[in-house]
């Protein structure tokens, strides 16, 4: 059986792994690092313009081969499994959480607090923004103060965004451009954005993607990336509670198990596959899986709910100028008290909704050629704003990831099943939350002589996290604020699984900030000997 030894074995090859490996390689260049990823490496940047074009022309997958057919989870929101993970095709949005997210219990008597001070996290937000290359502008709210400026100036607002901001500001809600990991100038060896309008497949590298970090790491002699290799189980040292090895299998040689040995293991497989591996790693000594003496591995699975509206307004919008760039208001990150608790961000993008070409007129007649164009032009005289608020909801303990005995991969391992559930306090304010958004959408519409075309609520929790939540008490958490598991001193969980709650805006920057902080703790272990 092939056996690979390194100082640090990182399991999972997404943005968390990239950032952890990069920072460790800087802090302790002498350490050998191996990253093991189930998916393939899709490093053919030279083909990305062609993939982009096939996506536009034929709706083909912009990342061919970025999934494993039989490695699926019920309730997962992305099938991407490749080196780079979901951040291969993310939109690059880099919003910070706010202090309220870390202080729900102490400020509002809700859910829980994080075992981490806001000022501590804020330092690592700055570092995350530097490493990812974030362009942005400061928030107008004092509570969002920053200790460092954004590394790059904000992306210029298009004509459409200027129009949308003019409209939205009239409502009395202050908006700013959304910070993004997209280059507004050449940065870190990557090009300036040229507004291709397809950030999910950025053909130029202007939007940060972890594959760039991995390629840089691969130039180091003591870094190894083993892709197409699925870790199936973590194994403990005999009679000790430290992890000795990761048992894996290569998709290229499925009959030949592979073993990884290291003094430190870091689990960076995201909110789904990290708790899944811990649960799979059960043994007679640990029948409920590893790191699970609290019974909370795969519990408190979280994310945020969202409410959306399409609002038609008096504004000249030209759909397609830069649909990926939008506005955010952080006004609703703050709430007065528990009785008025509806925390959310508020986002605005250009949209063609309601103004797209259609085959049939309002009275059902088929439109061809000139009549179709005339109908389209008539409807396109007004603009549409796509509005969305991600709102803060809190998970119940039973919000779970479990092993699904009815669904197994080719190796016979049960696959994960995610069942999000909200806590009683969140459920109790559901109607109040809905009413708040309806009123807010109407208020926005009225500001631009507008009309709410439609509203809707998401049927899943977006930007998911959790499953190995951090905490100070081993009885109510899986790991500490550095991701070090309470049960196994050489096993870390990094990034999204460690979040107790998912805030009310995109989580990637927070996952990265926490990971960079974890890297310092991991590095310290080697200093200590």
């Amino acid at each position: 059986m092939p056996r690979y030894e390194s100082d640090i074995c990182i399991i999972g090859g997404g943005i968390t792994a990239a950032m952890l490996a990069l920072k460790l390689s800087e802090l302790r260049p002498e350490l050998s690092i191996t990253v093991v990823e189930a998916g393939k490496r899709l490093f053919d940047t030279e083909n990305r313009m062609a993939y982009r074009q096939r996506t536009i022309d034929y709706a083909e997958n912009a990342w061919p081969g970025d999934f494993i057919e039989d490695q699926a989870a019920q309730g997962v929101i992305s099938r991407t499994m490749a080196v780079g993970g979901s951040a291969l095709h993310w939109g690059g949005t880099c919003n910070r959480f706010s202090e309220e997210d870390l202080r729900l219990k102490s400020m509002f008597g809700l859910y829980t607090d994080w075992p981490l001070a806001w000022t501590e996290l804020e330092k690592f937000y700055c570092e995350a923004e530097r490493r990812l290359g974030v362009s942005g502008e400061p928030s107008p709210f004092a509570e969002d103060r920053r200790s460092e400026p954004y590394p790059m100036a904000a992306m210029a607002m298009t004509h459409n965004l200027i129009e949308l901001k003019r409209w939205a500001d009239q409502s009395g809600v202050p908006f700013q451009t959304t910070p993004q990991a997209k280059n507004t100038e050449p940065y870190d060896g990557r090009a300036k954005c040229i507004r291709c309008n397809t950030c999910a497949i950025c053909p130029t590298g202007a939007r940060y993607s972890p594959d760039y970090t991995f390629r840089r790491l691969l130039q180091r002699k003591n870094f190894a990336l083993h892709d197409q290799t699925l870790v199936r189980k973590l194994v403990l040292d005999d009679a000790k509670s430290t992890v000795a090895a990761a048992e894996a299998v290569s998709y290229l040689k499925p009959d030949e198990p592979v073993e990884y040995r290291a003094p430190v293991f870091a689990l960076t497989s995201g909110y789904c596959w990290s708790p899944h591996l811990l649960l799979l790693s059960r043994s007679p000594r640990f029948p409920n899986g590893l790191a699970n003496s609290s019974g909370l591995v795969g519990r408190y699975m979280c994310g945020h709910a969202f409410q959306s509206a399409m609002i038609e307004i008096d504004a000249k919008i030209y759909p397609g100028m830069n649909e990926q760039h939008g506005l955010i208001s952080r006004q609703f990150f703050r709430v007065k008290d528990r009785e008025h608790f509806v925390r959310h961000d508020l986002r605005v993008w250009e949209s063609a909704s309601g103004h797209e070409p259609r085959l049939r007129s309002a009275d059902g007649r088929i439109l061809l050629g000139d009549s179709l164009l005339a109908d389209w032009r008539q409807r396109a005289q007004r603009g549409t704003a796509r509005v969305r608020g991600y709102h803060d909801v809190h998970p119940d303990r039973e919000s779970s990831l479990t092993l699904d005995a009815a669904a197994k991969n080719r190796f016979g391992d049960p696959l994960p099943k995610i069942d999000h559930r909200l806590d009683a306090a969140t459920l109790a304010r559901r109607d109040f939350t809905h009413e708040h958004f309806q009123q807010l959408f109407q208020k926005l519409a009225q500001a631009g002589n507008g009309k709410v075309l439609n509203t809707g609520a998401g049927n899943y929790l977006d930007h998911p996290a959790g499953g190995c939540r951090m905490g100070g008490d081993p009885a109510s958490s899986v790991c500490d604020s550095f991701g070090q598991t309470h049960d196994h001193e050489n096993l870390f969980v990094a990034g999204s699984p460690t979040l107790p709650n998912a805030g009310c805006t995109n989580g990637t920057l927070t996952f990265v900030a926490l990971t960079l902080r974890s890297a310092e703790r991991v590095a310290e272990r080697f200093h200590k000997g």
């Binding site: 709706a59 070409p357 085959l359 000139d370």
Partner: protein, 187 residues
């Protein structure tokens, strides 16, 4: 038992051959699209694309549609979605369907006046129960797909707004704060 086995094997061989022949035929129909229906396709384009494009513009869009059909890859992976995920692949080439549709419309498209051509196309779309333009051409009817191909394109978007938005182009950030320039000539 041996007779039954031989029978099954012979049927399997026949079916395999038929499938192979069918596959070759679809490949040929895709690669040579629109073959002998070129005139019908061009006549259809005049009915379903905007006159504002002009004769040359309509011809240009028709040729782009032909290239699109020829470049279609049956079975190619599609995006697996976000939120609600599903592994999907592209269906069979639409070329055989298109050729059948064009054959059905051929007489009306090549001999009738403008009104009767529009009526024939409208009737065909009604018969095919097409309710809206597909997001991308899906093979249900060549008339709807040719319209979707153009009207949902970046060029179609520009024509609607009479502005050089260039939605699908990489355009640079500079100047994007200005409204797009008025469209020069025809999209």
């Amino acid at each position: 038992m041996s007779i039954r086995r031989r029978t099954i094997l012979s049927w399997a061989a026949y079916l395999g051959g038929a499938l192979r022949l069918s596959g070759v035929r679809v490949w040929a129909q895709t690669a040579n699209f629109p073959a002998n229906q070129d005139d019908a396709l061009r006549a259809l384009a005049v009915v379903v694309l905007p006159a504002e494009l002009g004769t040359a513009g309509i011809d240009q869009k028709t040729e782009a549609f032909v290239r699109w059909v020829r470049g279609y890859r049956a079975g190619a992976e599609m995006d697996h979605g976000y939120g609600a995920t599903r592994l999907r692949s592209k269906g069979a080439s639409p070329a055989p369907n298109y050729l059948r549709h064009l054959e059905g419309l051929r007489e009306a498209l090549l001999s009738g006046d403008a009104d009767s051509k529009r009526q024939a196309v409208t009737a065909a779309l009604e018969q095919a129960k097409i309710t809206d333009l597909p997001r991308t051409p899906d093979g249900r009817h060549v008339a709807a797909d040719l319209m979707a191909f153009y009207f949902r394109s970046s060029d179609g978007n520009d024509l609607c707004y009479r502005a050089a938005i260039g939605r699908d182009q990489c355009r640079g950030l500079d100047g994007s704060e200005q409204a797009p320039a008025p469209l020069k000539g025809r999209a």
